[in-house]
Amino acid sequence: MPGGDRDNAKTTIMRKPRGWGVLSLCLLTVIVLALPGVLKSSFAIDILIRILLFAFIGVAWNLMGGYAKQLSLGHAAYFGLGAYTSTLMQVDFGISPWIGMFAGGVVAMLASLPIGWLCFRLRGPYFTIATIATAQVLMLIFLKFRDFAWGAEGTTIPNLGNAPLMMQFEAKAAYYYIALALLAIGLAITYRIERSRMGYYLVAIGENEDAAEAVGVNAPRIKRDIYMLSAFLTALAGTFYTQYIYFIDPATAFNFNISIEAALVSIVGGIGTLWGPVIGTVLLETTSALLQSWLGSSSGGIQLTVYSLILMAMILWRPTGIMGFLFEIYGRHIRAEPARA
């Protein structure tokens, strides 16, 4: 019957993306979980860990910078705070970095309150500049104060061999799975927020803060809340990284490049989308790894030169990033709300 067929056709089209989506996600999960077993090269696993970690940092940034368009270039502040909190607790008091990681997150959350209060007083690019400034200030503070945080030389973390309770492992694969877990948590949080009231409010604020206020959105509070969440997650990454490289110093922990990459991977991959930061990280980190293997270790400046060219190309050609490009090609039935339209 004509009518019946039409109804079926509609349901089939509606079902296909969802079915495919779940299937490809399952496939992806299997592949991702199996990778460390398949790949023997330590170098390859190292790259994967970097990808997972920076994708996670990008996801954390994206919550605030992508959805709510609060473009911070100072997230290294929270990375560093997380790193230093867990390291101090570990080296000075012998407390496990697992606890330290959480504590670092809390410290970062608390720090985001005064920093946010200050920076949100400016809008647009001046907000960005203010965030850069605050991250620099933190670096300067940690450089100067040798009394409680080892100053400019930093410290190494005593190698305890295989000590899972102290977040130290002999098998590199362990770090891979931790980074994967962090990324999964970040993506899950983003997924939930996207579909909730908070998600709509974030995008509304990003689009037009005045109009959002006019329909009852408490913009200052929402911005404050998402900043705290973003800071918390970024701090977790800081702890992980420090445990992975067994070293910390202000230049590494508060490095401006971390802030840059956090924003970059989201913009290139698709600002304000779930998978954007992941795609962006895969692209950028793979490029970076290839460059390294062709040109030897960081021939000063080449990596950032390439990154900046990619960024400029993206902005001039497709500010919505790779995901934006995909959405345009595959139509809008992917998601109706909160609508990357």
């Binding site: 509304a204 329909v215 009852g216 408490n218 609508a339």
Partner: protein, 248 residues
């Protein structure tokens, strides 16, 4: 009927410019009031003062018995006042549905409930067919409809509409007037800033006239049209002595 809005001695200066000077008027519940006046009279500024986007220098605004001067816009919206903007401010990257849901979320945290309520508002303004369209892809007039739907989704008790009729053709004006009539029947108090006489005469029983930031007249449509001060404000002093048909 209680008073939905009581405005007393509202004033605001921007630098040397006295945008609003000592304006007072009241709006009864379920009434539709028109705020009119030549350009630059202070109408939109008054809206901004009422809805919390600017803070008045002096004066008080009682909305449903509660003083709202000093409150932030989102609190004022939560208290029941919704507004549209003269130049529509849609959330461009969001669909029509998502835009209106943002408004609906004020009263319902649950996404499914908000979606249902949003759909009601969208249907009311006649945008159902474009539910999935990105707001930035809408025509200007549809963006105004969207703005209205979004405001309605917050379930206001008082709706402030800023020049929603501008640029509409006569049949569109009639549609908008009909919408307002339906809202008024539901008990919604409406204050409109308007220039389109046809619409004002059709919906407003009570008109307040501003000029250069001051209230120069207040009354029903007939009184306003015959008021020499109003005529002078719009047309200049050369016309205030034109005899009116029903004079004397």
């Amino acid at each position: 009927m209680g008073e939905a809005l009581v405005i007393r001695n509202l004033s605001k200066r921007f630098g040397g410019l006295r945008a609003v000077q000592d304006v007072s008027f009241s709006v009864e519940e379920s009434e539709t009031v028109a705020l009119i006046g030549p350009n630059g009279a202070g109408k939109t500024t008054s809206f901004n003062l009422i809805t919390g986007f600017h803070r008045p220098d002096t004066g008080s605004v009682l909305a449903f018995g509660r003083e709202i001067v000093g409150l932030r816009p989102h609190d004022i919206c939560a208290h029941g006042l919704a507004r549209t903007f003269q130049v529509a401010k849609p959330f461009g990257a969001m669909t029509v549905l998502a835009n209106v849901m943002t408004g609906a979320f004020l009263r319902d945290k649950n996404a499914d409930v908000a979606r249902a309520k949003a759909r009601e508002a969208i249907e009311f303004v006649g945008l159902s067919a474009k539910e999935g369209t990105a707001a930035r892809d809408l025509t200007t007039i549809d963006q105004r409809r969207l703005e209205m739907a979004r405001a309605l989704a917050t379930q206001p008790r008082l709706l402030l509409l800023d020049e929603v009729m501008a640029g509409l053709n006569p049949s569109e004006i009639d549609q908008a007037v009909a919408l307002m009539g339906k809202l008024s029947k539901r008990g919604l108090t409406i204050v409109i800033v308007e220039h389109v006489m046809r619409a004002i005469m059709a919906v407003a029983r009570h008109i307040v006239v501003l000029d250069h930031g001051q209230k120069i007249a207040e009354g029903n449509p007939k009184e306003i049209v015959e008021n020499p001060e109003v005529i002078r404000a719009y047309l200049g002093s050369g016309y205030t002595h034109v005899p009116t048909p029903e004079a004397g």
